[in-house]
Amino acid sequence: MNSKVMNLIDAVREIPDGAEIAFGGFAITRSPVAFACEMIRQNKKDLNIYQPIVCMATDMLVGAKSVKKLSYGGGSLDRFGRMERINEAFENKTIDAREFSGLSLTYRFLAGSLGVPYIPTKTLLGTDILKNLLDKKDESVMISESPYGDGEKYVFMKALNPDYAVIHAPYADEKGNVLIDGPVWDLELAKAAKKLYVTVDQIISNEYIKMHPEKVVIPNVYTHAVIEVPYGAYPTAVYKMYDYDSDMLTKYAKTNKKQEDFDLFIDEYVTGTSNHNEFLEKCGGISALNKLKADPVYGYKKVWGDKYE
């Protein structure tokens, strides 16, 4: 009760096979890579993942055959490439993929985090996204008429309070107050989850929070576990902390094109290492990390032109 601090291995152990999990992260930013790698090391199976926009960690989990069902609103590795492990699993039907839009899936979390049964919205109407969800009898969606007699049609996005959520943030205190600079697309899913796990690059004092409460985006009432994993989102970016590693993302976007290449990658980098520090060593270690240090004003690695490089 005193402290919500856990270590990564124990935290991941709490998550059973088949767990219903919402993931934070967005493409190449704040992806909970360290958490996902540890899930792969612990050989989690049959996960039921929800994520408004998928990120690198999710593609890894799908490629590692940890995922049974994925509800998501699309996503890519930005210009580095595509979510090829997800795309292939989708095409081969090796996972049960349920496609949404970013907003519609987030509404399930908003409803869950507000304690209301659903949010009535018009988004998805007319799309094949909705058609497919209705065909699959996905419980998320229901079409209904306005109760005000104006003939308006709505999609009810049903509240979802996932058993677990996993997000990565730069900082939290040991009580579980979470600080994030920049956009917070994953706020609603974090607040909806029954157990929120937050990997952070650094655990900071509550005293800092008392001085800067405006920086807290998730107060401790939502947080189940705070897990300190420096560079826990590497090779994706954490705004104001470190940049994404273009070299490593380029490499990943090559290996994720074919399952056999991906498997070799996982063998070497994930199951071939016993923790995130070893993973970081494998990826280039301190010298790779030093190149990513974010400028405190720009929030990413600022390149000063040839003469400084």
Binding site: S76, G102, L124, T127, D128, I129, G182, Y239, K240, Y300
Partner: protein, 257 residues
């Protein structure tokens, strides 16, 4: 100012300029990466200094100085006015009805302005490529939809393989009948022409043809029997200032133009 006739420009530059001129000062724009962003920044640097730029990830009015790889790249968040959540951007701003233009890309666009960004039918399977992201939401709630696309037979099609985002659905009033809010206008800017849907059927028609492009070229590169507007125009030329800004200020590394 330099005489316009001296300007040489690329097709991408023309597309960016054409799209930029369609934006009005003070509008709120939800915009994706690539040429849409380039066009929006150009408008902001010229006739529309008070555009508000919104990224679905939760970023409002950034003033980037470095080119990023996508909206998840912190380079695109520099000097923002406001950071928020998905609900903050696509709920409280977009669905609230405050977005004048949703500016999208896509794999395919069909004759009723529906856009596919999910995947395409291959011989014996559906090849999944990306998905909606915020695109379905943006097309549902923006007052106007702009899209930039390559003009190819397999991209400008009779019917998209998958309706990720609804334009005018099956034409006429079918969009409204599906329950969606009205969409005032859709504009598609390609490498060959600008298209609108300003007719009763809400069917794609050529509004203006880029200089040097022939009708036949357009017909050949369109996947269905495309119509030409009665008052067909030639697309206006970029001016030197626009070209200067594109090359030297907005995309000096030529990543998109």
């Amino acid at each position: 100012m330099i005489n316009m006739s001296n300007s040489k420009f690329t097709t991408n530059e023309l597309m960016a300029v054409t799209a930029s001129r369609l934006l009005k000062d003070g509008q709120n724009i939800v915009v994706g990466l690539g040429l849409p962003q380039v066009a929006t920044l150009l408008a902001k640097s010229t006739h529309a200094p008070h555009l508000n730029i919104i990224f679905e990830i939760g970023v409002v009015n950034p003033e980037s100085v470095d080119t990023g790889v996508g909206i998840a790249d912190p380079r695109l968040w520099y000097r923002s006015d406001y950071f928020t959540s998905f609900i903050g951007s696509l709920g409280h701003i977009l669905q609230r009805g405050l977005v004048d233009v949703g500016f999208l890309g896509g794999l395919q666009i069909d004759k009723f302005g529906n856009i596919n960004s999910t995947g395409v039918h291959e011989k014996d399977y559906f090849r999944h490529i990306n998905g909606s992201g915020g695109a379905a939401d943006i097309a549902s709630y923006s007052k106007n939809i702009f899209a930039i696309a390559k003009h190819q037979k397999r991209k400008i099609v009779d019917m998209v393989d998958f309706i990720t985002t609804v334009g005018y659905l099956n034409g006429g009033a079918t969009r409204e009948n599906s329950g969606l809010p009205k969409c005032k206008s859709i504009r598609i800017i390609t490498n060959l022409c600008v298209m609108n849907f300003n007719n009763q059927l809400r069917e794609m028609q050529i509004e203006s043809v880029h200089p040097g492009v022939t009708k036949d070229q357009i017909i050949e590169n369109t996947g269905f029997d495309i119509k030409f507007a009665g008052d067909l125009k030639e697309t206006d030329l970029p001016d030197d200032n626009e070209i200067y800004l594109l090359r030297n200020v907005i995309d000096p590394k030529k990543l998109y133009i």
